[in-house]
């Protein structure tokens, strides 16, 4: 069973939840920019949550399915269409052999995730299928997908097989989507308008009062230089009280660092393991997925919360994921 890539889209890569344990030799974590959407796509097709899936950015690929395949699309609304018919997202979809999937436009959000039951037959490198583009490590030959690529898919598990059978039993021309879907989508315009919750960074106290105020009251525009390594923002200039010549120290997912130019950078999936610029804030883990759904030209607002509140958000989100997993399993 395979997917034929007819057109690759802007940046389509294989990602899972990341490559852990090698940051001490400087190998980045990489992985899905919106981890929750990737995990949900996998759950919808019966895969383990951390299975490799396609991360699709802004302009989506055109894919031909060579065999009947159970898929799910989550994340950004990129208007997927099969043979001219709109494909519902956030639910399992049984696609018939010969069908061609296209994404006709990115209406809201920035990144969509396409999981297939059984995952992809892609070797793991240092324990992960994630693509680390700059180093050419992992994924399909360490690079983004291109025209002519063939992606072999793995064998679906029992859930994948049964769900596919159930959906196709209702009869379908090109595909059959489930009548149910998961809710709470953080890529809708309404949800993207909510502020991104941050906690204080290690050098927060070294910034001026005006910078601290501006950080949580003014908007910051996502510039076109933003990418998987980080989002370069433009807004009020953030200034330390006096110049901080930093000694390089660890950076984590969501670190908001401020180079001398005063324009902050939010570190994302391909962030380096150490950084040399002062850290004014940390994006809460649950909101990193939301940052990843902003596009160049969008404006981000921040809101300061305590570490304890950030911990609570993390735990509550994991409890939600566990509940969704149970609910999806019960749909068979």
């Amino acid at each position: 069973m395979s997917l034929k890539i007819m057109r690759p889209g802007l940046l389509t890569t294989i990602q899972d939840l990341g490559r852990y344990g090698y940051q001490k030799i400087g190998v980045l974590v990489s992985g899905a920019m919106d981890q929750y959407s990737l995990r949900l796509a996998n759950l919808l097709v019966g895969n383990p949550e951390r299975q490799g899936a396609l991360e699709i950015s802004l302009t989506g690929p055109t894919i031909e399915f060579t065999a009947d395949t159970l898929i799910a699309i989550t994340g950004a609304d990129m208007c997927p269409v099969i043979d001219g018919w709109p494909v519902a997202t956030l639910r399992p979809v049984a696609v018939k052999a010969g069908s061609v999937l296209k994404f006709t436009g990115c209406k809201s959000g920035c990144r969509a995730y396409l999981a297939v039951a059984g995952g992809f037959e892609i070797p793991t490198v240092m324990g992960s299928q994630s693509t680390y583009l700059r180093a050419g490590i992992g994924g399909l030959e360490g690079r983004a997908l291109k025209h002519g690529d063939i992606l072999e898919t793995g064998t679906p598990n029992e859930y994948g097989i049964q769900m596919s059978r159930l959906l196709l039993s209702r009869g379908a021309r090109s595909f059959a989507a489930a009548h149910w879907c998961i809710g709470v989508v953080h890529t809708t315009p309404a949800r993207l308008a909510l502020p991104i919750r941050i906690t204080k960074g290690l050098q927060y106290d070294g910034f001026t009062e005006k910078s601290k105020t501006d950080l949580c009251t003014q908007g910051f525009k996502v510039t076109t230089s933003s990418d998987r390594m980080g989002y370069r923002l433009e807004g009020p200039i953030l200034k330390p009280i006096e110049h901080i010549e930093m000694i390089s120290e660890a950076a984590t997912l969501g670190t908001v660092q401020v180079p001398p130019s005063g324009n902050p950078i939010v570190l994302l999936a391909d962030h380096q393991s150490t950084a040399g610029y002062p850290k004014i804030a940390q994006v809460s883990f649950v909101d990193v997925a939301r940052v990843a759904q902003y596009k160049p030209g969008d404006t981000i607002y921040f809101k300061m919360i305590t570490n304890a509140a950030a911990e609570d958000l993390y735990i509550k989100k994991e409890q939600y994921m566990e509940n969704v997993k149970i609910a999806i399993a019960a749909k068979l």
Binding site: G21, T252, P259, Y314
Partner: protein, 244 residues
Amino acid sequence: MNDKQNFEIKPMGECAIHIIFGTAINPTIHKLVKGMSDYLETHTFKGFVEYIASYTAVTVMYNPYVVTKAYSLDNSHRVYEYLSGLLSEYATKAGQMPATKPDIVEIPVCYGGEYGPDLEQVAEYHHLTTEEVIKIHSSGEYLVYMIGFCPGFPYLGGLDKRIATPRRESPRLAIPARSIGIAGEQTGGYPISTPGGWNLIGRSAVEMFDVKNTKHPSLLKAGDIVHFKAISCEEYKVIRGNAK
């Protein structure tokens, strides 16, 4: 810093804890950082993801949900409080471990010209000639304090203050692989092409990271001693052979 302990613990968001052993780059603090890293290689906890060692600190990353469930924590005993206590114990024990003997590695470097576009700027900044900068840089003995930033990237200590130069105002979007650079009091090399804000003074003739080498993908590791050897462009091309 507490009198009783030689470290300080701070949160870094809700998924990481930063254990700080000092505020300067020196071999004494490095020994404490290395001791903690070595201890974490054999002592972790449920929910531990990984650690990053830097010049002055060890940062431990974890999954708060797994920690909460595994240690039956609740609102009154938060993950950060629990783990900072545990890591405090680890740091104390780590401080009592014996030090390990370092490996010595020589790296051939072609300085200046197309390989070191910022060499002249660094020389000008310090009112030195480029030859003087090269002599100072290549006669140093450097300790690998940590590997970070990108695969195999060494942060080296021991840079002579005469050539310490502040980072560039705006980072470059792409630096050629194997470039050797200076930023503040630090020196190091870029094993792969990546964005960065360092001043570039030369290029290494040997690979610093090779993913195909599954046993030792990184040329260097924390704790190694490095010597840079100045070589000519011709020698550089001979060593590189057909590779760029």
